[in-house]
Symmetry: C2
Subunit: 397 residues, 2 copies
């Protein structure tokens, strides 16, 4: 595990307060800035959403945010008024210790849904968490661990770059979207930078970046009740964006970090045996490309074919046809791992055994070329294995 | 197996001509009327569709249809101009023997896609098929067998009713939508009646019936390239619809037959362990209800929970939230097999063990009640088992 540093004047901590069955498994994470931050957030579009989402999304964008408190093991979703009270209480507990209004603290929860939060355990854990706050990579890693549910590894990403001869840092953590058990597992990410950003720019850049990263992954096409991505920019580097070029550079950094985390989430999906990249090119619009790519990525028959290392072009071409996009099979050209499989409506001649062998190595790239325009998109997904079904069906509450 | 009769003046036959790997497995079916029929058809909405769909859908509705020729083992899809020539040739071979124009013959194919039809095998099989034509239940059953691909049992349904003191018969066959191997398996149905129908009525009634039956089933949400439902009405009973009441009675019969076949298809889905009914009530429109019901029915997490006999309301309530229909969890009430599980936003108190036991018996009914209006819908699906994944991933070409 490489050591991932925090940006300047950020602190982090992680600990266990006993929310999960094993009382030693980390279940609390805290990110604090020593100075006010510009914050932005992108949240689940599921109409059924957790109390923390309902609370946090009213508190961004803002210029005075100080912290994000996260618990795992309990999503605090479908918990009614009590859930809202509990989410606000969590932020107030942190705010009191940071001497700021509760509105300057954001909250995320992930885990089982429909169960009230164990307030007494959190009340005991929060002071410990405050004590553990540190600016070192170890503290940051512990925070990454405190967010995990079914993830097998903590997920962090880091970029550093120079602007105006000063170093700017961008550090991020995420937890995965693999689904297991009775809980709707959730994708959470916290992105920290010591760049100065105004709220509108932060919001715009974060949305654009999420659209190109976390919105391009799908394990089973199910949007959870709690998905949240939060960006905090505290300006401690003394650097701000002064030109178009600066903005482009930062957007690239941000996109790099979010794509790295998004792909790490798919690679860590429960019970997956293949990492699948679906590229669709040559549509009229990016939306069309995305609709086709996501139909392929979420198709149970495409996924199971990939599990079997089978270059099953019929299932993929048929997906292209069932999205509502006006096309027929003569418009579709498909390559798998660089080998042309289907060209403009007809199966190509290719070495099937060689394609199967390349698929069996674990990374599968599906390239769909259409003749309509210049738009393109790339999405990432995993396959569908017997192990996935076992994990998702045999777990009992 | 009960013996299912044909309506008056219909003939049927089934045989094997060697399209499939095992040359004795039936792969040809033929339905013939001794007199001209009114025909109607509903076909796949997938833009990538087989040559037989492209040919047949230009030939209905019509008043002079005489036959439907069907082969299994090869879908004749993604086969270009040659595929269209082959499909037209099949109808011409039958038409020549019935002394009618090729346009009065319809054609369906189901099986592997992307491979040219073996014309010489069909040319040898068609005369045999003509010889075998019979009006008895045995001939009808052989035709049902000739359509099968991964089905484990032939699927037939029958109704008889009196109008104007005369007997009218309605007989139907279908093959299933379970998916396996490199072929996009297909849902085909042929419905025969000796009632007289005019083409507009036949078309309207068939569309309405398909909407309430075959469009309400889903194994994995994938529309195949070849789905076709064909209705032939030859008027041989001498009965026609003379009143609103007559029409209602016939629509009910038709709906009964199509629902019976649709449910038989789901019950025979490859690798399924549960038959699942999803009912959604209380929406503004039937479309809204259907959108929610199909999101639940196609959700991989809901399916795997059912496989594990787990009354996992979180996954179901979350599906309600991710359809784009304006609602929150306080609008949702859910029962599973008649037991109230989730009421207006909160988990209900219930005997989980008893619900698990009732689910383990194989039939699962999910009832979602919403408070918005009077619309409702019912859809049927199967669960997602390790066996399903095995079948769909381990098959090799």
């Amino acid at each position: 595990m490489t050591k991932v540093p925090l940006p300047q004047r950020f602190l982090a901590a992680g600990t266990a307060c006993g929310i999960k069955d094993n009382p030693r498994t980390p279940d609390l994470a805290l990110f604090v800035s020593e100075v006010s931050c510009t914050s932005a957030g992108v949240f689940t579009q599921n109409r059924v959403c957790g109390a923390p989402v309902q609370v946090s999304r009213t508190r961004v964008p803002r210029t005075t945010t100080r912290a994000v408190i996260i618990n795992s093991g309990n999503a605090n979703a479908c918990t009614g008024q009590r859930g809202l009270d509990d989410a606000r209480w969590m932020t107030a507990e942190i705010a009191q210790r940071l001497d700021c209004p509760p509105e300057d603290v954001l909250v995320c929860s992930t885990g089982v849904i429909g169960r009230p939060l164990p307030r007494e355990k959190l009340a005991a854990g929060i002071p410990v968490l405050m004590e553990l706050l540190g600016s070192d990579p170890h503290a940051f890693l512990e925070a990454a661990r405190g967010m995990m549910t079914t993830d097998t590894v903590p997920k962090q990403a880091f970029r550093t770059f120079e602007l105006a001869s000063r170093e700017v840092r961008l550090s991020a953590v995420a937890k995965g979207a693999a689904m297991i058990g009775p809980n709707m597992a959730t994708m959470l990410a916290v992105i920290l930078t010591d760049l100065h950003l105004d709220p509108r720019t932060a919001d715009t850049m974060l949305r654009q970046s999420v659209d190109r990263s976390f919105n391009c992954i799908s394990v089973e096409g199910h949007t959870s009740t709690s998905d949240s991505v939060i960006l905090l920019a505290n300006g401690a580097s003394g650097v701000e964006l002064r030109s178009e070029k600066d903005s482009r550079q930062f957007q690239e950094m941000l996109d790099g970090v979010t794509r790295e985390l998004a792909q790490a989430i798919v690679r860590d999906a429960e019970g997956a045996a293949h990492f699948v990249t679906v590229r669709v090119r040559g549509t009229h619009s990016p939306d069309q490309a995305k609709r086709i790519a996501q139909t392929i990525a979420n198709d149970v028959l495409v996924k199971t074919a990939i599990t079997g290392n089978d270059p099953n072009w019929g299932r993929i071409v048929s997906c292209c046809g069932r999205t509502g996009v006006e096309l027929n099979e003569r418009d579709v050209t498909l390559s798998i791992n660089g080998t042309l499989i289907f060209q403009a409506g007809s199966p190509a001649e290719y070495d099937e055994q060689a394609v199967r062998e390349s698929m069996s190595r674990g990374d599968v790239e599906l390239d769909v070329q259409l003749p309509f325009g210049d738009a393109s998109v790339e999405v990432w997904t995993s396959d569908l294995t017997q192990e996935y079904v076992r994990l998702n069906s045999e777990y009992t509450t």
